[in-house]
Structures are given as structure tokens and as C-alpha cells.
Amino acid sequence: MSGIAAVFKRELASYFTTPVAYVFIAIFLIVANAFTFYLGGFYERNQADLASFFTFHPWLFLFLVPALSMRLWAEERKSGSIELLMTLPIEPWKSVVGKFLAAWAFTAIAIGLTFPIWITVNYLGSPDNGAILAAYVGSILMAGGFLAIGSFISAMTKNQVIAFIVAVVVSLMLVLAGYPLVLDVFSAWAPDALVETIASLSFLTHFENIRKGVIDVRDLVYFALLIGLALYANTIVLELKKAD
């Protein structure tokens, strides 16, 4: 475990020694709030809940999380520090997990910093705080899913721009997996079972449930599996092509 802890600590600290953390948090908070009030009509809805806040999280994460994950491994490759990391007595999977957890913890901090909106809604009415907590958990889980995929893609290149774009596209596919845009590609030729499986992979469907305050084990398992698989793939890619 000490390997994971060492990598985690270094990675998390590195966010705060560069402007990355502050820029990311500032933009995330501004955009999240702008969406909630303008697009989501927080006041107009006249409801004491945070639906108009959480609805936009998948779309926000779609662009912001790849911006965070793109550097995880691409930067190590670019600067050559990957040679240092891979020759320390730390198993590659521990480095993958350590880095992922650091990025995830950082995202959780950013999401946690939206607490003024929770205070606001409690000030204005009496919302179901259990449902809001569930939605926060769901949001953080979903961010973890985006991050794990982004981390895996970042391990394949030393170019951060490529890592960003590919991660956005792959994430978009997963977000929209339950929608005609993606399903139509398959429904013409694939058996129904496959189409349904693809539809069930959608981030949106799984997040929707949690967002409404319904914590279903299947949704939790979905995100846990997604993260686990992406990190597993990440480790394999890393071991296969450490040097190039």
C-alpha cells in the first residue's frame, strides 16, 4: 500500500503546486453555477431540490475531466519521468491506482466546493438532503468513471492534446450510449440483446437514477466495474509500452 500512498501524495500535491488546480476549480465552479441558474432555471423551477444543478454534471465532466486526466500519463511519457517511476520498486498497477485516486480525490474536492448551492437550497426551502447526498455520491462516482477512462487513454500517448480529444470522444459515446445517436449505428444489424447491452452502458441512465436519490446497487456496480476495467486496461497498456 505504501507505493499507492507515495504516488497518490505526490500526484495530488502536484495539482496544487501548478495553476492546474486553481484554474480547474474556478472554471468548474463558475460553469456549474452558470448552468444551474441560467440553463437549469434554478429559481424559475421553484423547487427545493438540486435537480437543475446535477443534470448538467455529465456534460460538464465530459469536457472538464478529460482536461484533468490527459496529463496523468502523457506528461510522464513526455518528460521522461515515467522511466523514474517505472524503475522504483512500485508495481505498475499501484502507480495507476495511486494516480487515479489522486485525480479522483481532486475532483471530489472540486465537486465538494459546490457546497454553497446546497446551503442556498436549504436556506430557500427544505429539500430532501438524503437525495442530495446521494446525488453528490453519484456525481463523484461518475467523475471517477470519466477519469478512469481518461487515464487509460492518457497512458497510450505522450501527446496531451490527443489524450484529451480521444477521451472526450470515448466519454461522449458512453454518455450517449442509451440514445439514438449511438444506438442507431447498432440497431440496424446487431441483435437486440447487444443493442440493449450497449444501451445499458450509458452513463446518463445510471447517473439519472442516483441523481434522483435512488441508490441502486446495479448503478454502483456499473461505475465500480467501469473504473476497475479502465484501470486494468491502463496497467496493461503501461506495462506493454513503458518506453515508447
Binding site: 505526490r10 522511466e83 523514474l84 524503475t87 520498486p89 513503458k242
Partner: protein
């Protein structure tokens, strides 16, 4: 003593290119092995394989008995490695960076603080401890890399061009540092600086095209030079050069003579196994030549290097 680094028929192929070709050698504790070769000879590739960064195509490497492919973590614990170019995390300070290495290497709690302080002092890092590594000079960056490599007091040190980018004083210090650690450790230094081999190595391995071309002590290598035991002399009166050269060339101990174009020195190469120094000195006495210089050549590593590696540039 048994070898701490055991490289057996190591081969590394990139597509059709053989970067390392059936390379075998052993290194024992107390040895400082100079790993020599022209650029692109396979030095860095070999170092990377020993350090466990690259997998070999075939062959095996054992470090302190641990196979680097099947027991990578055990092997890596024994190794301190300075990669080529001394990469680190540029946004970190040397203090943060070395604390991270201490975490990653699992330095014992009790001695951790003291060891860090000791390494800061050994590499004179105190003044720059809290500045971002990216703002440091090349020399300091290299020293941070060295500090990282020696922090856990490893049995095996692999240093890829440890003095590259250092000024002469810093080079001297780093060499002294390496020399000081040499007694108890196994050290491999890759370099293209021949002076470095002379200064600190107890053994030199020359590779080119991924193949081992020579494995000898620095003195042994120098003895392969045609300059080995040659005598060079400089006359006070340059107009006598031709006469003197002819007379020296006639000595039975001298195989041939040469004039060094730049300095006007006469160089007398020994006939097979003979030592021409004493006869030449005696001759000079008899003839009353005034000599500015007269000395024995031990051999020139650069010339040996060029001969062995087929003229490829160092």
C-alpha cells in the same frame, strides 16, 4: 565474491534493428564498471533493461540474484538508477521530490530524516532545496537525480552519464562521491568520456552496435594502444629534428618513429615488447641533445576506443 549484476546473452530488438546483441558480462561488488561506446551503441538500452524499464527480447539479467523480469520489485529495491538526462518532476522542489522517493522506496521512519539530510549535504543541495527543479541549472538537476539514485543506499548503482552537463569542479566532486561509495557497491557508469574511465573505473566494457568488443581494466585497455610504452621527446633546438629522429629510429628497441605535427614532438614506438625509454635517454646523453621533454606514454584510451569501435565517433 559472486556477481551482483549478471547479464547473460542479452538481446534487444526494435523491429529489425538489434540494439543489443548477445551481450554477456558480470559485475562484482567493489567494481566500478565503465560502460563505453559510441552514441547509439546500446549503452542506454542495456542500462534500461538492467534497471527493469525495458524488457529484453531474449537473454536474462539478474541483480543480486533476482531476475529483473520475474522478480522486478526485489531487483528494483537493490538498484539505484540515474536515467539518461536525469528526469524528475519539474514542478516539484528537490525537497518534495526526494521526500517522494523516500516514500516510494519505503525508507525506515527512524533513519529517514537523517538520511535525507545526509544526501542533501553530500550533493550540496541545501541552497536549492525549496526551488522548483525546472528553475535549476543543469548541474543541480543532475545532482538531484544522483541524490534520488543513492538515497536508499543501494547495493547496485546504475548511472547513465552521471557527469554530463557538470562543470569540471562538479565532475570532480561527483567522481569523488562515486569513488567513495565504490568499496561496498557495484557501480556501472555509462559514459562517452574517456577521462572518466581513467578517473574512477576499475574496469571498462566497450560496446558498439550492441556487441561487446572489449572487457578489460583501463590500464589493460591502454596497453592495447600502439602508444603503450612509446617515448615522446621534444628538442630544444627544432632544427635537429630530422637527424635525431633518424638516430632514434636506428635503435633496435624502436620499431618506428613519428613527428607529432602540432607540437613537433618525436614519438618513438617500441619494437615488439621492448622498452625504448632507457636506450633513448642514454643516446641523448651521449650525443648531448638538449631535451625540453622526455616521457613515457602509457597508452591513449581515445586511440584504443577508436580502433576498437571502428572509428565511429565517441
Amino acid at each position: 565474491m559472486t556477481a551482483t549484476i549478471d547479464v547473460q546473452s542479452l538481446t534487444k530488438e526494435y523491429g529489425r534493428l538489434k540494439a543489443v546483441d548477445e551481450l554477456s558480462f558480470q559485475v562484482r561488488p567493489g567494481e566500478v564498471l565503465g560502460f563505453l561506446g559510441p552514441n547509439g551503441a546500446g549503452k542506454t538500452t542495456t542500462m534500461r533493461i538492467i534497471a527493469g524499464f525495458l524488457p529484453p527480447t531474449s537473454g536474462s539479467v539478474r541483480v543480486c540474484g533476482f531476475d529483473v523480469e520475474t522478480q522486478p520489485i526485489e531487483a528494483k529495491r537493490k538498484i539505484g538508477y540515474l536515467p539518461e538526462g536525469a528526469p524528475s518532476y519539474p514542478e516539484m522542489t528537490p525537497r518534495e521530490f526526494l521526500e517522494f522517493i523516500a516514500d516510494a522506496r519505503g525508507l525506515p521512519k527512524g533513519s529517514r530524516r537523517a538520511r535525507l539530510e545526509e544526501v542533501y549535504a553530500l550533493l550540496h543541495l541545501e541552497k536549492v532545496l525549496d526551488r522548483a527543479i525546472e528553475t535549476l541549472s543543469k548541474g543541480y538537476k543532475r545532482r538531484v537525480g544522483l541524490a534520488q539514485a543513492i538515497l536508499h543506499d543501494p547495493d547496485v548503482l546504475l548511472l547513465d552519464e552521471p557527469t554530463d552537463g557538470l562543470d569540471p569542479n562538479q565532475k570532480h566532486e561527483v567522481r569523488q562521491l562515486i569513488g567513495g561509495m565504490a568499496k561496498s557497491k557495484t557501480i556501472v557508469i555509462s559514459t562517452h568520456l574517456l577521462e572518466e574511465v581513467d578517473a574512477i573505473c576499475t574496469r571498462a566494457v566497450v560496446i558498439s552496435g550492441g556487441k561487446l568488443l572489449a572487457d578489460d581494466t583501463p590500464a589493460g585497455l591502454a596497453a592495447r594502444s600502439r602508444y603503450h610504452n612509446a617515448v615522446s621527446l621534444k628538442l630544444a633546438d627544432a632544427s635537429l629534428v630530422d637527424t635525431v629522429r633518424a638516430e632514434i629510429g636506428a635503435l633496435p628497441e624502436v620499431a618506428e618513429t613519428e613527428i607529432d605535427g602540432d607540437t613537433g614532438r618525436i614519438i618513438a614506438f617500441p619494437a615488439n615488447g621492448k622498452l625504448p625509454l632507457v636506450p633513448i635517454g642514454r643516446l641523448a646523453d651521449q650525443k648531448g641533445w638538449k631535451l625540453d621533454e622526455l616521457h613515457l606514454e602509457t597508452g591513449r584510451l581515445d586511440e584504443v576506443f577508436r580502433t576498437i569501435t571502428g572509428g565511429a565517433s565517441a
